[in-house]
Symmetry: C2
């Protein structure tokens, strides 16, 4: 296995992109990533793309070929492969790109993620997203994602010391970070009171506990470490890639407040990189809901179970804290174009390690990403370092 | 890169499986493959699954996790990844499994393919399949897959010497082979007259020129060659894996009667295996329509452009011919559960090389598979040998 590095990153603006199509979004992100790596499309050997549900959002499958074609790469007949694991699709696309380069099979590989969610109404969106859960045992019974994460929050708050105010602090912190991120869907600061006075979605989760429906795309260029200096003066190494699965339905889990796949993927990533938690300078976690960030911090092992709420309220996970969590603004403030999110996390960690994160810059040499599909049936964790 | 071998294969019966769910299908195929490899699920390190459009066929995404869960593998939290490239999804799942093992990342990997197509009506099926083509420039204009392949057939018959009767011989031969395959959806022999008197679907293609709507699943177990004898006395080596893309829309191609992605993937596979066409004893090609088999034989280089119709009518591609094509019965007679087809092709070649194909056995040491997405926007070719 060869060492692998990221040499280019690019993200569209995330948001309700009424004037951009699915195709516009991934072409924009891909072009930004290629410009960042200083290369043209002819140098690309293969493409992996993460997308959850273009079949239902825009009635289009065969996304790998579509992207190769509209990015102008079909003339070279390069391999282009879509991977899907619901909200973890982007993280898996990056992982497949890393495997392709590490194996020696390919040299210059682009991993992209894209989702265009606003071409359908809210009802179709919510039902499409329910396809990430167990359709037969959850979706058909009426469970939606806010409902499932509300069950996690209810169970968690029953068992561990987490106040409603502490939970709101996750959203407050992520909006603060998003206010410093030019691609974020929401760049406005909020207060605990904003969260607590927002409409109830699924008790105890309120509107500002939930990540939004978003259009967007992200792309990164991955090469063998030994060739990285051909492309950039600031390559960022992939120190570990780990993926884990769990039951697709929440009710089949050993413990619904602990995402065992997060625990497994996090442990494997640290083992493979031979690092400890103290080596990690920042982490982008999958905060599809505020409770998801609380669980992620704990299940990745940054603190004991039941402590993340207090630590968040104390500022430990803020930009200036001991372990900055979601400096990008996370899914909450950046928005969550499902297939793009996992790749955007990689973009953020690379940008931070390069020292190019401007107003949201943290002191970072090593960063972690954590991307979740469904309620934790797929988790993929990456560690990247200077 | 390590050498890779297939040590277990399993297929469900293909057909209108009213009494089996999506989950039943893949569990059945997976169990057969594990039994064939003589192992239990705990030995599996990772899973790749090919599926085109469960999102629209059964409103379920996140297929990797679903399969890991219902196959009883979620407790080990193994990585499980869905790949999608329309009708080439199965071939790509196998390819990703091969890359995972070749890279040294994983040891025992299952590649599966599954599609459950009969839970929706014909209108939804046809529209869902149109998602494999260019939705904006083909689907929205009313193009369906029979229509697109009819354009290929019309162009081909205008330029090359192919009679309507020769085209029908493809279906006659594949039904003859299917009659000897216990998993085939159609096990009845037909004549040229059956094809010519069947209803017109899209001129010049008639009902018996078209592969059917099918439910089914297939799975294979892939391991490093050096460990293959732990599992079986008859491992089959993966001699080459090659994938190519092309424009998603037919009208953007250089030549609509030549699938350039087939040409590219076929050439790459032969180069990587250091074999020539004379070394290949059988080939499973993607005959979604009879014209597709004609093009495939030529574009893979088994004969010159314009010759495949005559050779088919002369019996060169029959079981006893110089180059048996689709001994399984192909998509035409086996049926075409979209995501499963590419893996079923691998199962057939492995079964043939092992000498276990009973009434449809050909004299085979080396075989090729050819799996196409859409009208040729993705093509994946594998070569396997004893």
């Amino acid at each position: 296995m060869r060492d692998v590095a990221v040499v280019g990153v690019g993200c569209t603006e995330f948001g309700e992109r009424w004037s951009a199509s699915f195709r516009d979004l991934f072409v924009t992100a891909g072009t930004l990533a290629l410009e960042d790596a200083g290369i043209s499309g002819e140098r690309i050997d293969a493409l992996y793309v993460g997308n959850m549900s273009a079949g239902r959002f825009i009635e289009q499958e065969h996304i790998g070929a579509l992207i190769a074609d509209f990015a102008g790469l079909a003339t070279n007949h390069i391999p282009s492969t879509r991977v899907e694991a619901a909200c973890a699709s982007g993280g898996l696309a990056f992982r497949q790109a890393v495997i392709a380069v590490a194996s020696g099979m390919e040299d210059v590989v682009v991993a992209a993620g894209v989702e265009k969610m606003t071409d359908v109404g809210t009802g179709v969106s919510v039902d499409t997203l329910a396809g990430a859960a167990d359709r037969e045992w959850e979706g058909f019974a009426g469970a939606t994602f806010p409902g499932l994460y509300a069950m996690i929050a209810t169970d968690y708050m029953h068992r561990y010391p987490l106040t409603r105010e502490q939970l709101a602090e996750v959203a407050v912190k992520n909006h603060e970070n998003g206010s410093k991120n030019p691609i974020a869907q929401f760049q406005n600061r909020i207060t605990v009171d904003t969260v607590l006075s927002s409409s109830l979605v699924a008790d105890p989760l309120r509107l500002f506990d939930c990540s939004p429906i978003t259009d967007g795309a992200a792309a990164v260029v991955v090469v063998p470490l030994e060739r990285a200096r051909e492309f950039t003066d600031s390559p960022v190494r992939v120190l570990a890639s780990a993926q884990a699965s769990d039951t697709i339905a929440l009710h089949d889990r050993r413990d619904i407040s602990t995402l065992d796949a997060t625990v497994a993927a996090g442990k494997r990533a640290l083992e493979r990189s031979r690092l400890t938690h103290r080596d990690i300078d920042l982490v982008e976690v999958h905060d599809c809901f505020t409770i998801a960030e609380i669980c992620a911090i704990e299940d990745l092992g940054f603190c004991a179970k039941g402590e993340a709420g207090r630590l968040t309220a104390e500022g430990v996970t803020a930009l200036g804290g001991d372990i900055p969590v979601n400096p990008s603004g996370g899914l909450k403030a950046c928005g969550h174009p499902v297939g793009a999110t996992g790749v955007k996390q990689i973009c953020e960690v690379v940008t931070q390690i390069r020292g190019e994160a401007a107003g949201r810059q943290v002191d970072a040499e090593i960063g972690m990403t954590h991307n979740v599909g469904g309620t934790g049936a797929t988790v993929v964790v990456h560690i990247l370092g200077a």
